[in-house]
């Protein structure tokens, strides 16, 4: 029981507080910044040459203000905002007018989830295994070359790396193996036939490759360093001095202790990986949350942006909570005081 009281409940409280703080920040940003979203929207309408008599303009402003939920004092707006949130109603998108925001999000979400989950899993597992081996055999040649490659790839931001892959594999400059844009070829209907799946895989190959390589490089480097440090720990040296066979030392002594910081590392970097995924999608115009965000920014679709940001905050913090809760399963020092 002490475990629940000492580890679980504080974590849950922190989770709720973080989500609340995130959403409150998102609530206040448009209201604090100097320019008013309604005027911005009116500006965009007028830019498109909509000529209106003066009387109609006030009506539009009133409707927009009401639709943005900006009328009344900040506290009324705040409660109304949370009220809508609990019903999962993010309001209506301006650009694709009749479509509700959460409808748009639910179409884009599977694409992003598919890309994000697979690449994160692959890069974490592959990165850790290769990093672990490279750390254990750090004197071998191959581990040094891998480390050098890692040193080059790791500092590159998602955006630049994705762009480099695009130039290399998709554009006319070098190879032309992969499509430049899109999630599927034009006009493909989403059915579960093999043809459609093959088409999706073919299109998502480059963004997935980009995310996996970058994520893999990060995990490779951190795991290599952790394994080198754990290898120098007293209990590993003592096991070697005690004549414990090498396979037991690698599995039960080094890997199991090296994984612990990697789990917290994964939790802390999920936010970063998610942002990276969004950017990579934009570069490859892959039809996930990233493209949705890109279009909503271009068209100043205020409600859609709010929806995406809130959805992402809740999603990411929940994922982090789940990863954090798996940590005690691996570390007895947390389970039993």
């Amino acid at each position: 029981m002490a475990f629940v009281k000492r580890y679980l409940i504080p974590r849950l409280i922190q989770y709720v507080l973080v989500v609340w703080l995130g959403i409150t920040v998102v609530f206040f940003i448009p209201r604090v910044t100097p320019n008013d979203p309604v005027m911005a929207m009116v500006g965009i309408l007028r830019a498109r040459g909509a000529t209106l008599e003066p009387g109609a303009m006030d009506g539009i402003i009133r409707d927009l203000t009401e639709m943005y939920g900006l009328e009344g004092s900040w506290s009324d707006q705040y409660w109304a905002f949370w009220g809508r949130l609990f019903h999962g109603d993010f309001g209506v998108s301006f650009y694709q007018y009749p479509a509700h925001v959460n409808q748009l999000i639910s179409t884009a979400m599977p694409w992003t989830l598919g890309l994000l989950l697979t690449t994160t899993a692959i890069s974490w597992i592959v990165g850790n295994i290769i990093g672990g081996l490279a750390g254990y055999y750090s004197r071998k040649g191959w581990s040094r070359t891998l480390d050098a490659i890692g040193m080059v790839i790791r500092p590159l931001p998602y955006y630049i790396f994705a762009f480099a892959l695009l130039l290399l594999f998709a554009s006319t400059l070098v190879f032309r193996w992969f499509p430049v844009t899109g999630g599927t070829s034009l006009g493909a209907r989403p059915t579960f036939t093999w043809v459609y799946i093959k088409d999706v895989l073919w299109h998502s190959a480059l963004p997935a490759l980009s995310l996996t390589i970058l994520g893999g490089a990060v995990n490779f480097q951190t795991m290599k360093l952790i394994v080198q440090n754990v290898n120098a720990e007293n209990f590993v040296q003592y096991a070697k001095l005690g004549g414990v066979t090498e396979d037991r030392i690698v599995n039960k002594y080094i890997i199991r202790n090296a994984l612990l910081p990697q789990i917290t590392g994964l939790a802390l970097s999920l936010g970063q990986i998610f942002s990276g995924a969004l950017i990579t999608e934009i570069v490859f115009s892959y039809p996930g949350m990233g493209m949705l965000l890109y279009n909503s920014i271009l068209r100043g679709d205020y409600n859609l942006i709010m929806g995406i940001v809130i959805f992402s905050i809740v999603g990411i913090t929940t994922a982090i909570l789940i990863v954090d809760l798996t940590y005690p399963l691996f570390d007895p020092r947390v389970r039993y005081k």
């Binding site: 920040v25 998102v26 940003i29 500092p155 630049i160 762009f163 006319t172 940001v309 905050i313 982090i320």
Partner: protein
């Protein structure tokens, strides 16, 4: 300086030093540019790189090389502002939280942690969207600095916490030194190297983010930076139309800049303490 001589033995430090010197020279060259960066059609459009135009010209009728010098200068300005201001915030938060302790420590660390956990990119995008009309180099720098202190405040705070337990803190207190003087005289020599290598990481992070925001069109597009240059290159479909020199210049420049900055911070922190390497994930 013996330390500099030791550092140069590390090939990474050597490489990053050379690249950074080249980039600084380019930034300084911008002052001697024959063309005004904001004017268009000053040179014939879309010419391949030649003796006259080192890196060719672009579809806006600007010389790509001189444009690049301005881009590098402005990107550095933004990231320096972001880096330095966020250092000040990080140090203040770390000092107060680390030295004062108690509830302030818990509150500050909670804010720091939630900034780490929440996908900052989206919030920065939202704020940038709202400030689009006022966006210029300084505003963007300050915006990035406001979100860039959380991770480093935590690292610096842990250094201060460990120093507070060390016995020379007690010796200093017994020698009658006041709190402020104690922090500056006793802790700064320890924290300085860490602050410097986190500054470099933050600069790389800021440049990367500036490029991303520029691609999303959230920055003032007629102030040339690495990001806006790339944005214009894509806007004119220079990839498909084969004008590789226009799109490659910002990509290659930022590629080398990121690698150089990362290697600089890694070689410094490894020189200080081989066991701890700065774990920052590459710029978003």
């Amino acid at each position: 300086m013996k330390t500099i001589r030791d550092l140069f033995r590390d090939y990474r430090f050597l490489f990053s030093f050379i690249v950074l010197v080249i980039i600084l020279i380019m930034a300084i060259l911008s002052a001697f540019s024959p063309y005004d960066p904001t004017l268009w059609n000053v040179v014939p459009k879309e010419l391949k790189p030649s003796a006259k135009y080192l890196l060719g010209t672009d579809s806006n009728g600007q010389d790509v090389f001189w444009q690049a010098t301005f881009a590098v200068r402005n990107s550095l300005i933004i990231s320096l502002i972001a880096g330095l201001v966020s250092r000040v915030i990080a140090i203040l938060v770390a000092m107060v939280a680390g030295y004062r302790g108690g509830t302030i420590d818990r509150v500050l660390m909670f804010i720091g942690d939630s900034l780490l956990v929440i996908p900052l990119f989206l919030i920065i995008v939202m704020v940038a969207m709202m400030l689009r009309k006022f966006m210029n180099l300084v505003v963007l720098g300050l915006l990035l600095s406001f979100f860039g202190w959380a991770w480093d405040a935590r690292t610096i705070r842990s250094v201060i916490l460990s120093l507070r337990e060390r016995e020379f803190t007690k010796t200093a207190v017994l020698s009658g030194t006041g709190t402020i003087k104690l922090v500056l005289k006793e802790y700064m020599p320890f924290a300085m190297p860490l602050i410097f290598s986190t500054l470099i990481n933050n600069i790389a992070w800021a440049i990367g983010l500036e490029i991303t925001l520029a691609f999303l069109g959230l920055v003032n597009l007629n102030i040339p930076t690495l990001g806006t240059m790339l944005n214009w290159a894509i806007y004119y479909q220079s990839i498909l139309l084969g004008r590789w020199w226009w799109v490659l210049t910002p990509v290659v420049l930022s590629l080398f800049l990121f690698i150089a900055l990362y290697w600089l911070s890694v070689s410094i922190s490894e020189y200080l303490d081989p066991r701890t390497r700065i774990q920052r994930v590459g710029a978003a």
